[in-house]
């Protein structure tokens, strides 16, 4: 999971769909933690296409 921070609006949709609680979403960044398995669920749900 890689987030394009110029597109990300930090809405949290990716966090809600992540099956393994692998996304940290603060007020300033959204990024994966060590649990990320690169399953692609977040990429699919992101409303603005910010996840590569």
């Amino acid at each position: 999971m890689e987030v394009d921070s110029s597109l990300c609006l930090r809405c949290g949709a990716c966090v809600s769909i992540c099956p393994v609680d692998a996304i940290e979403a603060t007020d300033s960044y959204v990024r994966p933690n060590e649990r990320c398995t690169d399953c692609g669920a977040c990429r699919k749900i992101c409303p603005v296409g910010a996840i590569k």
Partner: protein
């Protein structure tokens, strides 16, 4: 009250400096659910801390901003022009082929609603909690629960002044659609693709709509598969124009569907976009289990959202109020076990469980209908004069006109 004196410092974002490290109740998230829970717990005598990762509450907006008046009456909150920016009393539903159904509430007895300014509303609710004695810690990211003897004993995170840890007798998870607190406590709140509507919204200026007091809804698989598009007026030529698509049905991003919708609508296409909002709305119906030892889950985090409309502010505030009260009482009695906190679960289910289940069923039925079938239903409803906005009233008309529908709609009437 210790909280009052410290309000200005807290809201300036330096919460850590004045924070005590033990509270009766810690609320994670300061949206409508969290702020209402914090208010209610503080009012009932608990020492409350409310934590939010955002440095500015209510931002970013992730909401169409429409709300029914009932909840404000229930909680004794007087609508204020600063956040209740437009009063509505009618809806228009447009079928896939363009058949329009209009419903106006009766002039005298009718229920009204408001289109909110969430940036102001959320801040208002947070300030209300703080004025009731709750402490607020803004710009503070909660990244884990603290366990004591295998039981939830607090939270930890990173704030403006670095890492922090706070002990609490009860933790209320009000951390929204992307809730993690409940998950850390072992409750399963992960969503699947058919549990979530992903939404995009433009706030647009220079648009035309039928009436300032009318909320508009547009259905159709071309417009927004598994969801709907909306036009919610906020001012003379200002409106929230948005849509939600069901995660499992979306072939493109919601923002792309929205651009198409806007360009096809003559009243909207000439408008200018002055704000872009996106977000996810859980439409799976509330989770069954919303309490644990020292834990309660409220609002979007508990999926307490009307699955048909996606509206969740009212449920969040209703649940938050109950949760805060139960938390304060439980702490006072010295029993914050899951068993004790179940009072919250029983009471929110009593207050809205049946209604949400019914809307979930309605949503599932609607999702099973083709655009053609939706047009047929709209054809039946078009000529009928409704004097209130009621799902039951509409269903009755449908079944009367087409008894075969009864089988599909059973359980809803």
């Amino acid at each position: 009250m210790h909280g009052l004196r410290r309000v200005p410092e807290n809201l300036s974002g330096r919460g850590d400096k004045v924070m005590e490290d033990k509270y009766d109740v810690v609320v994670v998230g300061a949206g409508p659910a969290g702020s209402t829970a914090a208010y209610s717990a503080a009012k009932n005598g608990a020492r409350v801390l409310m934590v939010d990762r955002r440095r500015e509450l209510g931002v970013p907006v992730q909401c169409g901003e429409a709300i029914a008046e009932d909840i404000l009456n229930e909680l004794g909150i007087k609508p204020d022009r600063r956040w209740a920016v437009n009063r509505t009393n009618a809806v228009k539903i447009v079928s896939p082929s363009g058949i329009e159904i209009r419903i106006s509430e009766k002039k005298v007895t009718g229920k009204v609603g408001y289109v909110l300014n969430r940036k102001v509303f959320d801040k208002f609710l947070a300030v209300r909690a703080v004025k009731a004695g709750a402490e607020a810690m803004i710009g503070s990211y909660v990244n884990g629960l603290v366990f004591k003897n295998g039981r939830i004993g607090g939270i930890r995170g990173v704030g403006l002044d670095g890492k922090f840890e706070v002990a609490a007798d009860v933790v209320i998870a009000a951390d929204g659609v992307g809730s993690r607190v409940a998950r850390w406590a072992g409750l399963n709140t992960a969503l699947r693709f058919d549990d979530i509507e992903t939404c995009a919204q433009f706030q647009m200026v220079g648009v035309d709509f039928e009436s300032l007091s009318m909320l508009e809804f547009y259905l159709g698989s071309r417009i927004s598969p598994g969801g709907y598009a909306w036009v919610f007026p906020k001012g003379d030529d200002l409106a929230n124009v948005g849509l939600g698509v069901l995660g499992s049905r979306a072939e493109r991003r919601p923002i792309e569907y929205l651009r198409d919708f806007v360009s096809r609508m003559p009243g909207l296409s000439k408008g200018k976009i002055v704000e872009v909002n996106v977000g996810g709305v859980p439409v799976c119906g509330p989770i069954e289990e919303t309490v644990g030892d020292s834990l309660m889950v409220v609002g979007d985090a508990a999926r307490q959202v009307n699955p048909l409309t996606g509206g969740g502010i009212d449920s969040a505030m209703r649940a938050g109020t109950i949760a805060g009260e139960v938390a304060a009482k439980a702490v006072e009695e010295g029993d914050t076990s899951k068993e004790r906190l179940k009072e919250y679960e029983r009471r929110w289910k009593e207050a809205m469980g049946k209604r949400l289940t019914r809307y979930l069923k309605a949503k599932e039925i609607l999702l099973g209908l083709s655009d053609g079938e939706l047009d047929k239903l709209a054809e039946v409803l078009r000529g009928v004069k409704f004097d209130r906005i009621s799902l039951t009233d509409m269903l009755k008309v449908l079944v009367k006109a087409n008894p075969k529908l009864l089988w599909k709609l059973r359980g809803l009437l």
